[in-house]
Structure formats: structure tokens, C-alpha cells
Symmetry: D2
Subunit: 261 residues, 4 copies
């Protein structure tokens, strides 16, 4: 059975900026989904901000193994209830791949618990992404580094938690560096942040970048069935304790009562 990948896009600049439209006439989501769909073990679909519930009703997310997230100008327009839904699904085991300007998206900031801020410059400069661990599944099929002739610069400090793994570090022509590929585990969900992707350059048409996206979908896929009650805090009554105990002392809760939250 194939990995069900869902590529989400705010789908704004492709409709309002000529440079971007020329590069991605059907939207960045369509380009990426097209790339993923060429793989036998991945089945990719898309959803966008303007759709009902941003194209992310609960049933759709429940049927998604890995979500890819593109957003930039419209972060604020993403509904908080849907952000909650997305993060809950990550906790349950859905993989999440956050692309480029998605560093400031609501789901990513929510999952990181940090500002996710950085420095930036849009000058079309050269970027070189170095693979820090050549044996990592995400970097297979590329060389020691990926070179992009034109890229927006993102510079450190990047205000995220210390990652589980640093996968890529970028060198920029203008003199900065950036941790461009980072992995996290949050609940049952695996998260990969991947920096490249500024929409005024043909980044997602670069074969190495496409290879990384395909690898990342496979890496982020957790085949274990969803951890549905990951957020529950069940009471274990004294008579169900693994060891026999004799309850004693004062108490706040009545027998059978739920905990507070």
C-alpha cells in the first residue's frame, strides 16, 4: 500500500506574482505532488488554503500519512482550529515536511514551541547545502552537497529547538550559514524542516531537491497505526495498579472522576 502524501499550499503568489506564476503555473503544490507521484510507493494529492476547511477536513487528515506544508504570505489566514487538527495528527503519527517559508507557519511554530525566526535576503545568490550525515536516508541519491545557483538567503540564528538530527547545513554566497535540514520527533510524528524553495527561483524543479523530498516522505512515514488517544490522560485506579497498593492520604478527585486540563 502506498504512502499517502498530501501537499498543502496557501497558493497565493502563483496567482498574484508573474515570476512565480511562470515557474509554477499550477502552483507549487502541483509541481511537488507531480514529482512524488512518479514514485510507485507514494500516492500524492494536494490541498490549498482557499478550499473549504483549507482542504484539510478531519477525514482527509486521518487518511494522510505525510503532510507537506508550503505557506508564506498567508500564515495568519490559516484557521487556528485547523492548526490544532494538524498538530494533533502529527502527535498521532502523521509525518510533516515543512518547506522554506513554512518556518513561520502556524503548525510549525506550534510544534516547535519557539519563535522560528531567522535573518533573510532576497538577492538570488548561490547556496550550497552540505549533507552532514551521508548515510542518512534523506540524503541518498545526491552527492556530498546540493548547489542552487539562485536562492533566497536564510541566516542563523534560526530559533528552533536543538534538533534530533542536523541533516543539511547551507553555505551562502553572501557569507551566511543556515541549518537547512533538521529532524524532530513530536509524539508519534516525525518532522523534517527543509529550507530551499523560494518561489521566485525554480528550486522544486531541481532534481536533487526533488530527490530529497521523495526521501523525506519515506523517512517521515510512520507505518504504525495512529496513536488516537495520544493526548488523553487516563486515570489508573488503585485497583488496576500493576502492583497491589493500599490507597491512603487526602484526595482531590472523586473515584472515576476525570483529571483537570
Amino acid at each position: 500500500m502506498a504512502i499517502r502524501a498530501l501537499v498543502w499550499n496557501e497558493f497565493f503568489h502563483e496567482r498574484h506574482n508573474d515570476v512565480v506564476r511562470d515557474l509554477y503555473p499550477d502552483g507549487i503544490h502541483a509541481t511537488i505532488a507531480g514529482v512524488l507521484s512518479c514514485e510507485d510507493d507514494i500516492e500524492a494529492t494536494t490541498a490549498t488554503l482557499p478550499e473549504d476547511e483549507h482542504g484539510l477536513p478531519q477525514a482527509r487528515l486521518d487518511a494522510t500519512d505525510v503532510l507537506l506544508w508550503w505557506g508564506h504570505k498567508m500564515h495568519r489566514d490559516v484557521d487556528d482550529a485547523i492548526v490544532e487538527r494538524v498538530t494533533e495528527r502529527v502527535h498521532q503519527g502523521m509525518g510533516l515536511i515543512v518547506l522554506h517559508s513554512g518556518h513561520f507557519s502556524k503548525p510549525f511554530k506550534r510544534l516547535m514551541g519557539t519563535p522560528c525566526s531567522l535573518r533573510w535576503r532576497e538577492a538570488g545568490e548561490r547556496e550550497r547545502l552540505w549533507a552532514v550525515n551521508r548515510s542518512h536516508p534523506i540524503v541518498q541519491g545526491i552527492g556530498p552537497s546540493i548547489e542552487l545557483p539562485n536562492a533566497e538567503m536564510y541566516g542563523e540564528p534560526f530559533l528552533v529547538p536543538e534538533p534530533m538530527e542536523t541533516v543539511f547545513i547551507s553555505w551562502f554566497e553572501g557569507g551566511e550559514v543556515f541549518r537547512s535540514g533538521l529532524t524532530y520527533q513530536r509524539g508519534a510524528g516525525k518532522i523534517f524542516y527543509f529550507r530551499p524553495g523560494h518561489e521566485t527561483y525554480p528550486i522544486y524543479q531541481n532534481p536533487d531537491i526533488q530527490r530529497v523530498l521523495i526521501n523525506a516522505v519515506r523517512w517521515a512515514y510512520n507505518p504504525v497505526s495512529a496513536w488516537r488517544d495520544v493526548s488523553a490522560a487516563p486515570n489508573v485506579p488503585a485497583d488496576k495498579a500493576p502492583e497491589r497498593i493500599k490507597p491512603r492520604g487526602g484526595s482531590l478527585h472523586k473515584p472515576g472522576e476525570d483529571g483537570y486540563r
Copy 2:
């Protein structure tokens, strides 16, 4: 100059439950602040939920080095704007010590980005907290373990990110275990979660627990001045790049324009 510690309490059960009132007639916050104030290098004050802005106006937080957080039944009543303010101050460098049922408090969940869920039982059973690293500053002055004759049980899985350091692991009479002392770094702020503290037992009157709280305040204190613009994402124009570059390629932003967020 002393470390400015602020002990926050929702201050509910001490006013509505006789067992708790007997143990903490002036509130848990008063007890803890009293303990901290005995130290020459700590200056402790308190704030509670019923106060205006929950006792946490911006100026108060700006003058706080380490915040201790107690909440249980009233998590939902904490205003989201104040949660935002607290987490922003943590990112800027304020230390945060989250106590017991504070695992479900809004600031902690926000900073962790995970459900922070767990299993629990209120049976007054015995707990023994083992120090995993005896050289850690937080465990100085206690023995290899702390024994509590009566405690509420918290059991794994505890849904938090993998910590920077595991400081304590608890053994419970009823057969469960729990990571009871965990450290995190988020932005410039240091965070310590410390499990013990159920309000129906005299936990905060235990000298070992008091010692850990004092140690934790010192550990969480970041003497560096606040990182005020930790959440800013400044543009670095091409002519200010560390290396000389010639801007090229398409662009989304006009010169001098702010980024999107």
C-alpha cells in the same frame, strides 16, 4: 544582585479544599516563595490567577529572571495573551520551572509543542525519585534519591519532546515509572519540569524537594541580558551582506519591505 524569582499559582484548591488549605493555608506560592527567600541570592515574590492580568503584566515579567508555575484545575482560565507573553519572555531568556500538574498548563504545552499527556492515580502511594546524573547542579545537596511517603502517581508515556537532560526518574509503589525531572532550552530560556507536588500531600515541605527548587532556580537563571528581538526576522539587504554579492533573479519583496509572518 539577587535572582528575581516569581512564584505563580492559580490559587484555587487552597481556597476550596480543606485538605489543601490545611497544608498550604497561604497558598502553595507562599510556601515556595518563603523557601526561596531564605537564600541570599534569591529574591522571591508571588502572583496568582485572580489578580489583574493574573499578576503578570509585561513590566512584571520583564523584571523576572525565573518564573515558577503552579496550575491544576484552572488551566483553561489563563488568558491566551498572557500565555503568549510568558512564552515570549522564556524565549528572551527568562527561566521557567513547571511544577507537577503544570504539565497541562498552557505555557508548558505551548513551549513543548506536544500533548504533555500522561497516566495518573491519586492513592497516596510511595514515590522515589532517582537522580540520573549525580553531578547535575539541580541535584546537589540531596542523596542518590528522594523518597516521598505519599504521592500522586504520574506514569509513562509522558508526551513531551526528548529532553536536553533527564535529571530524575521516579519509581512508584504501584508499579509505574516517570521522567520526573527534565530540562529543555527554548530560545534563550531554560526550562525545568519537576513532577512532585500534589497538593493533598506536604510535598513542598520536604527539605529535599525544597533543595531541588532552590537549585533549579539557580540553574534556570540566565544572567545574559534579555534577547529582546528573539522573534524578529530582520532583512539583511544585499549591500549589507558580509560578502560582496551582486543581486540577481526575480523577487517577491520590494527593497526595505518587511518579511511575511
Copy 3:
């Protein structure tokens, strides 16, 4: 193509202690290899200390995907050159599963860089291993915890580096706790330490323990081809630099010379 697992055993107590011989007449290695071999995707063989080169000549290790290590009384008898060979293969990508008393084995201490010390007691007491992350591949097919009626106790502090993931934490009847399942990444190799296994109890005949071992072999397997030159420190001459540079300043090395090590 199947995962090539190799179960190594010092094979001492099964030949010199009656209790152990009765439990594992052909040796612990034979029992574990038998369990693994029932899986279609695993092909398990064995090697022991008394064999030539401890049964671990270079060619054998080169043809091994995941090595399981059992040692206890004979750690000192393991040849340093072979320890070097094993750790180098881990760096190249071979998975390593270290069992129980293997915490003091030379390969594990070498890969951890810490004393790997702990407290212990041999009293046949009850142990309960709690899964800290129920969605982890290593804990699939078991319940929330594994209960062992008789086990040797290992107690914290366990002097290892902070792990990549804490997979299991043990509760002991006598009052201690222990981080019983820990993962590490070292070079291209994945390492899993798994505590249970004292040889005077039928631990490896427990179906849950067997399930964890099978899961761990699959988890530790890195399908990427071996990183053969993982320990090399190649010179990148100035004329092969990714960006054009003009060499300048003093130098220690003559052109083409190797670095020091």
C-alpha cells in the same frame, strides 16, 4: 534480500554454570539466532569468543548488517584489534544491539565514550519495562509494558551519554529504576542498548523480549551501502574548492601531503 544479523556471544556461563546451561543448552546466541531466523526478512548466524578471531574476521563483519552482542565475564578477553574492527563497522553503518551485561563490553564502552557503569542486584526480583513512546518501531507488538517475573536489577545512574531516544524505562520490585532501552547514532551506525537478559532466568524465551529483539534488528538495519571511508580526512586542495579562492598565508603541509592523525 534478508537482513544479515550476527549474534555474538562470549559463550562462557552456558558451559560452566549449570543453571545457565539448563536454560540455554546451546548458548544464548543459538536461542536468539533461532528466534530471529523465524522471520522471513532476517537471516541470523552466530559467532563466539573461542572461535578464531572471535568469529569476527573482517570479511564476516563486512557481510553483517546488524550485530547483537552478548558478553559478561569475559569482556577483558576480547581482543582490542577486533573491538576496533567492530566499532569501525558500526561507524560505516552496521547496526549494533548490545544486550544486558554488554553495557561493560569493550565495543559499547568505546562507542559511548563513558564509563557505562550502573548499580546491580541479583535477587530474581520482578521487573516491568515501560515503553516511553508507544509508536516507536522497536515496541510494536507488545503492550504498554513488559513484565519479567525474575530479573537481575540494574539501577541508575547509568553512565551513558544522553540518548537519541529513551525507548524503555524499567521499574524494579526492590525500588530502583533504569533506562532499559536506549538508541544512539554513531557515524552511519544505529545502536540499541537493551537491558534484560540475565542468564540465570529465561529472559530470551519471553515472547515480548523476542519481539523487541526482532523489531530492534529491523530498526538498526541501515540499507544504505557501507560508508567505507568514514574515518578518512581527505584534503580538498585549493583548486578543487567549490568556490574559487586564492591560497595565501603560511602553511604546514606540502601540496598533496596527508593530514596528521
Copy 4:
């Protein structure tokens, strides 16, 4: 009482290479110790390879709070027994700062458990070290980055374990990047690897580099008294267990017997 810092140097190139001698006539160790000694709270001494026991007898190490390690061409000449002594002291709580080519020193490789390999180029190119966390104690007193006009290049992949914190990442004129400041905790000891320092350039005369070294000594200092038995694995007999247990089942060890190692 001052922090007792000890600067160790193999002291070879300063005696055999004219460029290095001119920069460091009394040896790199003397220059660094001179810098540290200007601080009121640091008391710095030196030791070198040619001295008896490399200047590191047990008593000397026992009286050392933080050891700084410079080595390059003579790594192999460092006696294994002394390496063992140094790593044991780190586990007990001595801080360790490993400088530049010390990445291949025996103590560092031993403590990391990985090859510590990298790529390199000696072309006097420009390096810029970016502070990843501006609030970290090690980067206080410097700006967002440190610029070195001439440096040897070290490039990723750097084969070390994922660090506790990434403090610096370097940009190189020739197009590479490197994690130039990394922290680790091993046992009770704090370790900082700091990349700059090639001996043919006046790196240790740069005020920012000096500032980092001073900060790092303070950071690595663990004021807790040494954990003398950090490597011991004491038996906890059944009658000394925290909870009452009744010993049962087979056993390998006779009462009072030591464990195997």
C-alpha cells in the same frame, strides 16, 4: 577560589616550523594561558608532551578544573594510559576544551566514540563563525559572528555524535561549512570542541577567539566535587534494597562478590 585551567600542548610545530615559532615563540599553550590568566577568576598553568607523563600526573589532573587540549602532529605519541587518565577525570567532572586539530586527539576520539573525521584545506582563506544561540554563555562579548581573515578550512561531514548544543557554525570562503563549536556532556564532565586555531595564522591572538576561550573555561567548569567512583558498578545486596524483597531464582554471583568487567 579561582578555576584551575590547564593548557596542554604537544609543543611540536612551535619548535620545528619557523612560521609557527614566529607567531607563538613560547608555544600556543603559553599564549592561551597568558590570555586566561588575565581573568581574576581563572588560574592557568601549562603542560606539554615532552614533559614527564606529558606533564599530566594523576595529582596534577586531580587539581585541574578545566583542561584545554592542543595537539596536531603528535597524537600517536600520547600514551594510552594518560589518555585513560584524562578521560576518567572528564567523567569525574573535569571540563575539557578541545582545540582545532585536537579533533583527532586520542582523548577526544575516546570521549566521542566516533571517527571525528572531516575534510580540510590549508589555503589561508576567510572564515566566519556564526553564533547559533546568541544567549549562550560561550558567545557573550562577541557580535553575531567572528571573522578570521586567514584560516585552515574544516568541512562537513564532521563525524561526531549529535551534540548537546551547536554553538558555532563556520562559513568558509572556499564554499564549505563546519560545526565549529559543539558542546557535550560525558559523565560529570562538560566538553567544548572549538575549531579555530591553525598554527600558521595568529588565531589565538584574535580578541574574539580569546573571549570565547575565557567564556568556555567558565562554562566547562563544574563546581561540584569530583565524582570519584563514577566508573564503579557497586552491588546493592537484597537486604539493602530500598524496598523489601525476597531473593529468589538462580544466581551467578556469590554474596559479596564483585561484578564482572
